[in-house]
């Protein structure tokens, strides 16, 4: 049966209405996607499969698209180098003369530094490995500032790794696939970076807003910074290492402190990804939350009491390294063994850091706990009250 012959064939709905319904449906989908987006958390789990797919596809395609521009730039650079070789040579000779004196100074300082480190027995952080990557796409809009680099998990890049140019910090990796990484720039509106003023050690949070100069927020005192001060990463929070150069402080026309980024003066087509791992942040939260407390077992009190050297035997539950540290200073101070009077403890253990252990433990053994706990706790308590 032809459509015109059907009972609903003459039913006409204005196409504008159907288009409006489609707009509403598409709008609801967009709102749902926007509400469910967790980009601002900057967690690996929030970087969905769709984004990874786009990055994986976009990296080679953008690389191919950008190649002619890159070749043109390299050609122009080659021509300018060729044309200005003589003046460049004179300039480099002057710089070399200056650098020679700095090199001698640096060698002397390094030897002095090594000696001090040896004297102090200082253990420094190991050198951090770096991966070089080529930037193949660069978004610069007011609502998102990110770059796609052509290096990914296959070369050890992970989410959270800081990204540098040869001049300073660029951003950090927020998404990684096997062959590509997405770098969230310091200027992105979702970027928050703990920094400090190098001159005064004043802490601040570098907050991107989509413009070229991110803001310095949460500065405690306004006099802790002045125009031209060097801004470096503070390392607070363990996301970035301390001391990476970020830029210099500048004041905008509204009187707010901002940072002129050092990376702005560097080329944008190559970056260095620092494979930084903060060892203090390596705790496996999942494993920690799932792990059960070790069982607290105690010996048979009767067996402990009947032995003549029972007082110096700690319960098995207190054999952790922390408790061993508490016991150690007590070892040279043996006390006379009190006589067991009854099976129930007569005295109550003093409030101490061991209270949580006692809370999950079964009732303490009558004699051993009554005797051992005060001995262990009373001299050691000051060490746990923040007065070390």
């Amino acid at each position: 049966m032809a459509f015109r012959e059907s009972p609903l064939g003459e039913l006409k709905i204005p196409l504008t209405w159907t288009a409006a319904v489609a707009v509403v449906v598409a709008g609801v989908i967009a709102v749902a996607l926007l509400v469910s987006d967790r980009r601002e958390t900057l967690q690996e789990e929030a970087y969905g499969a769709a984004r990874k797919t786009v990055d994986t596809v976009a990296a080679p395609v953008s690389g191919a698209i950008a190649a002619p521009g890159r070749w043109t730039g390299q050609g122009l650079t080659w021509i300018s180098v060729y044309l200005f070789t003589a003046s460049e040579n004179r300039k480099l000779r002057r710089e070399l003369d200056e650098m020679r004196s700095w090199r001698d100074t640096a060698i002397g300082l390094k030897e002095q530094n090594d000696r001090y480190q040896a004297l102090l027995g200082l253990k420094l952080n190991p050198p951090i490995p770096i991966v070089a990557a080529r930037v193949v796409a660069d978004s610069r809009g007011p609502f998102a500032n990110a770059r796609i680099a052509d290096t990914g998990r296959s070369r050890g890049v992970n989410v959270g790794n800081p990204v540098m140019s040869e001049r300073g910090l660029v951003g950090r990796v927020v998404g990684v696939t096997n062959s590509a990484s997405r770098v969230l720039l310091l200027t992105d509106i979702a970027s928050r970076t703990p920094v400090m003023i190098d001159r005064t050690n004043a802490r601040a949070i570098l907050t991107g807003d989509g413009g070229p100069n991110p803001k310095l927020e949460y500065l405690r005192r306004d006099d802790s910074v002045k125009a031209g001060d060097l801004v470096v990463t503070s390392g607070d929070g363990g996301v970035l290492p301390r001391g990476l150069p970020v830029g210099v402080a500048v004041k905008d026309i509204l009187g707010n402190w901002r940072v002129a980024l050092a990376a702005d003066n560097a080329s944008i087509d190559f970056v260095q990804i620092i494979k930084f791992v903060d060892f203090s942040q390596l705790a496996d939260i999942k494993a920690l939350s799932e792990a059960e407390m070790p069982p607290v077992t105690t010996k048979d009190p009767q067996a402990t009491v009947l032995r003549p050297n029972a007082a110096v035997q700690a319960p098995q539950a207190l054999n952790s390294p922390k408790v061993t540290a508490i016991v150690a200073p007590l070892a040279p101070m043996p006390r006379p063994l009190p006589k067991p009077v009854s099976r129930r403890p007569v005295t109550r253990p003093a409030a101490s850091p061991l209270t949580p252990v006692q809370a999950v433990a079964p009732p303490p053994p009558p004699v051993a706990a009554t005797v051992a706990a005060p001995q262990l706790i009373s001299p050691a308590t000051p060490q746990f009250n923040g007065r070390r």
């Binding site: 926007l34 987006d37 890159r70 978004s139 809009g141 998102a144 509106i189 989509g210």
Partner: protein, 171 residues
């Protein structure tokens, strides 16, 4: 109205091809290049088909095409998912509502309409970003992107010219 006048548009020609060109242009302008120390502008190429599709004719397919373009921009630029989809749909819905007022107007006036639609998309993006990130985006950055996008009107005008008279039912 005779059926001979109702000449359906080929979705590939008026929907898919402009969308693909738009995606290609977006990727091209995302190349990490500097000319005399300045980076390339970053216009919202998706505004061209969004405006033109609404002017050419109402369609059930177009809102979903606009949404897909927006999702591509979010994924490629690294913004919140749905931000540009919603912003472009706001502009599309406005142009669709005002479509009757736009018909038969001069090119300069249409350029002003295009600027208005772009302004609505940018304003929506500004507000949604504020809500999503709880921070105020740079107004200067928004203004630059707005100006760069408004300059794309000739492409939207060309697209409208190509298909406006293709189906006389929607003139």
């Amino acid at each position: 109205m005779s059926l001979s006048a109702a000449r359906p548009l080929n979705p590939w020609r008026w929907l898919a091809l402009p969308a693909l060109i738009c995606i290609g242009a977006t990727m091209l302008f995302a190349a990490p290049l500097r000319v005399f120390g300045l980076q390339l502008p970053e216009p919202v190429f998706a505004m061209v088909p969004t405006f033109a599709w609404a002017v050419i004719r109402p369609s059930v397919l177009v809102p979903f095409g606009v949404l897909l373009l927006g999702l591509f921009l979010d994924s490629f630029w690294g913004g919140p998912t749905g931000l540009w989809g919603l912003s472009l749909l706001a502009a599309y819905a406005t142009v669709l509502l005002m479509r009757n007022m736009m018909s038969g107007q001069s090119r300069a006036m249409m350029w002003a309409w295009f600027a208005g639609a772009t302004g609505i998309a940018m304003l929506a993006g500004f507000l949604f970003t504020m809500l999503d990130s709880l921070a105020i985006p740079s107004l200067v950055g928004v203004l630059w992107q707005f100006l760069a996008t408004v300059l794309l009107f000739p492409f939207a005008d060309y697209l409208v010219d190509q298909f406006e008279d293709a189906d006389v039912r929607f003139r």
